[in-house]
């Protein structure tokens, strides 16, 4: 699996923060859910997505 370099990760970090600020709290969950579905479809690997869900559930 390819990983992001630091500069790319920072760019995604900023873009995601900006998008969350843009949509506002009411639409935030909907926006993030759409984003996950889009990325999941691009990734095309059910196991990796399920592992990512498990990882994201950790340490909340």
């Amino acid at each position: 699996m390819s990983q992001l370099g630091l500069a790319e990760l920072e760019a995604v970090y900023d873009a995601l923060a900006a998008a969350i600020n843009q949509v506002g709290t009411e639409q935030e969950s909907l926006f993030l859910t759409k984003l996950v579905l889009l990325l999941a479809n691009q990734l095309g690997d059910q196991t990796q997505i399920e592992q990512a869900i498990t990882t994201a559930l950790r340490d909340l």
Partner: protein, 556 residues
């Protein structure tokens, strides 16, 4: 004293006939034990009665009502249901009135985001889906039953209690002329979702009850659109909820719309609420025609089944046995398959041909079918009426993406009712060539219809019997003919249908044989409910006999 309401129900287009109570023999001092009594004269009870009569079994049908059901209720009948209704003799009347269709549309923010066409095979007589209000189907079934001397319809007779014994069952029945006890060897509970018999026996269904409630309303209106399924998601006038529109005969449209949470059925059915919401939906879809309400009700989605449909001499069928969400047209369409599955097994047992084990496969096959349907229906329900925040969020994300992203659109698939495949049935042959076939209906599947000529199909030739479809261009081997004759002499209803050169069905272009992956000597054994229980590349008489005994529950 039970006095049924004799006032014809109100309708702007349907004339309700009253079927009056008639004094039964029991109230004249004559008692007897009947072979089969069916409680419930809805579509399932009536199809069960007509099916049993096909096998010459007399039936008493008990109904608390004196007229057919109010409102459209079950409106969409599948091809498989039409095939079953053909066997009981009302398919032609259905075809003359019903609206056939095959396309479903899902609409979000004014855009059609998904369209699905149910497949239609050139060999099928009936269209995938057919719209007709339930009261017409009941009327046709009643009129068909009235013509049959084996069927006695007892209207205006309310079941007060039921007692189950090891060899018979007794019903306490209240009527306008007083109470009486009705005794029978077998009692079929076809008394609907609120089954009195199920409640008296204290039986519990297993499964899920969803919080989503729907108003279902029939309106008389002229909308010049084709007959297709229309599902509107999350409209401005009913945020977060789903609306279905179906065209029906007699200028009637059926609207199903979901209610906001916490609204009571009384609030939902208040005239002002109904008028405002129906008008809002019509405004949204750009329909300006005047309309009139015919009937309305409130429905809650459930996906539940009894774990066993047989309790001593009491057998459950249709909604009395299971409650299934309406989104995939699964109510009546599932119940018809129950009726058809039950009737031949009970008839064979009563004739002394089938074993008690045969009858228990009614429960095992149909409970399995219901559980499969529930698993599918739950997927549809999660999308149509999300049960919690997580499912709602996912559904809303899919709606939003569906405007531009094709990959989410298959999630709109509405998973319509389909016939169950009894692939793991105990009635299937233990030794046949099922796995060697590359086409044709496999063990457990319903037969595929074949168009033989103009207005002439394979299913038109099927009767209340086992059928052997035998493919040959030569003469049928004597051993096979002898085996069939021997079986017939023991009282087993079995018919030979030959396919090939100079046979019953000539199959000049080889189309039939190709669809069934058959060569000369190949054969299919078909149960009386038209499901395949064995198939052979090359049939032998011994294999045929073994398979018939297996299918009658006489196997090891």
């Amino acid at each position: 004293m039970y006095i049924p309401d004799q006032t014809p129900r109100h309708s702007v287009y349907y004339n309700y006939s009253i079927y009056p109570f008639q004094t039964p023999p029991e109230l004249r001092g004559t008692t007897q034990t009947y072979p089969v009594v069916i409680v419930g004269a809805g579509p399932i009870g009536l199809v069960t009665a007509l099916e049993l009569a096909r096998y010459n079994i007399p039936v008493q049908v008990i109904s608390a009502e004196v007229q057919v059901s109010h409102g459209s209720r079950a409106i969409v009948f599948t091809r498989r249901s039409m095939e079953i209704l053909q066997q009981v003799g009302i398919a032609e009347r259905m075809l003359a009135t019903a609206y056939p269709w095959r396309s479903g549309n899902s609409i979000y923010r004014g855009q059609r985001v998904f369209r699905l066409e149910a497949p239609h095979d050139e060999d099928d007589r009936f269209q995938p889906l057919n719209n007709l209000q339930q009261q017409y189907v009941e009327q046709y079934l009643i009129e068909q039953a009235q013509l049959n001397p084996l069927i006695e319809l007892r209207w205006g007779s309310q079941v007060m209690g039921v007692t189950s014994f090891s060899e018979h069952a007794e019903l306490q029945i209240d009527t306008p002329e007083g109470e009486y006890t009705l005794s029978c060897n077998w009692l079929i509970a076809a008394d609907g979702a609120k089954s009195t018999i199920r409640q008296v026996l204290g039986l519990r269904m297993e499964g899920a009850s969803y919080r989503g409630r729907f108003v279902i309303a029939d309106i008389k209106i002229d909308i010049p659109w084709p007959t297709e399924r229309l599902a509107y998601f999350d409209p401005d006038w009913n945020r977060g909820n789903t609306i279905l529109m179906h065209r029906q005969p007699e200028g009637i449209w059926r609207l199903d719309y979901q209610l906001p949470p916490n609204e009571t059925p009384e609030q939902a059915l208040a005239p002002e609420s109904l008028n405002t919401r129906i008008q809002a939906q019509l405004d949204m879809v750009g329909v300006t025609a005047p309309w009139e309400l015919d009937w309305c009700s409130v429905y809650s989605a459930r996906a539940m089944t009894l774990p066993d449909y047989m309790h001593d001499r009491i057998i459950f069928t249709g909604d009395a046995a299971h409650m299934l969400p309406i989104f995939g047209v699964r109510g009546a369409n599932t119940g018809f398959q129950d009726a058809q599955n039950l009737a031949w097994k009970l008839a064979m047992l009563l004739k002394g041909i089938g074993t008690p084990k045969l009858l228990t496969t009614y429960s095992s096959e149909r409970v399995t079918a219901a559980q499969e349907i529930i698993a599918e229906a739950s997927k549809s329900t999660r999308f149509m009426a999300p049960p919690d925040r997580g499912f709602r969020l996912l559904r809303d994300a899919v709606l939003s993406l569906s405007l531009t992203q094709a990959f989410v659109r298959p999630l709109f698939h509405w998973r319509t009712s389909r016939p169950h495949d009894y692939h793991d049935s105990a009635l299937n042959a233990l030794q046949d060539d099922n796995a060697q076939f590359t086409a044709g209906p496999a063990q457990g599947m319903p037969l595929q219809n074949i168009r033989l000529a103009d207005n002439d199909y394979l299913f038109d030739h099927l009767g209340a019997a086992f059928h052997v479809l035998y493919f040959t261009d030569q003469i049928v081997p004597v051993a096979i003919l002898d085996a069939i004759q021997t079986l017939q002499h023991t009282g087993i209803p079995i018919q030979l249908l030959t396919i090939g050169n100079q046979q019953r069905f000539t199959d000049q272009d080889g189309h039939f044989a190709k669809r069934y992956d058959a060569l000369t000597g190949s054969a299919y054994l078909v149960r009386p409910d038209q499901h395949v229980c064995a198939r052979w590349k090359s049939l032998s008489a011994d294999q045929l006999k073994a398979a018939i005994y297996q299918a009658l529950g006489q196997g090891a």
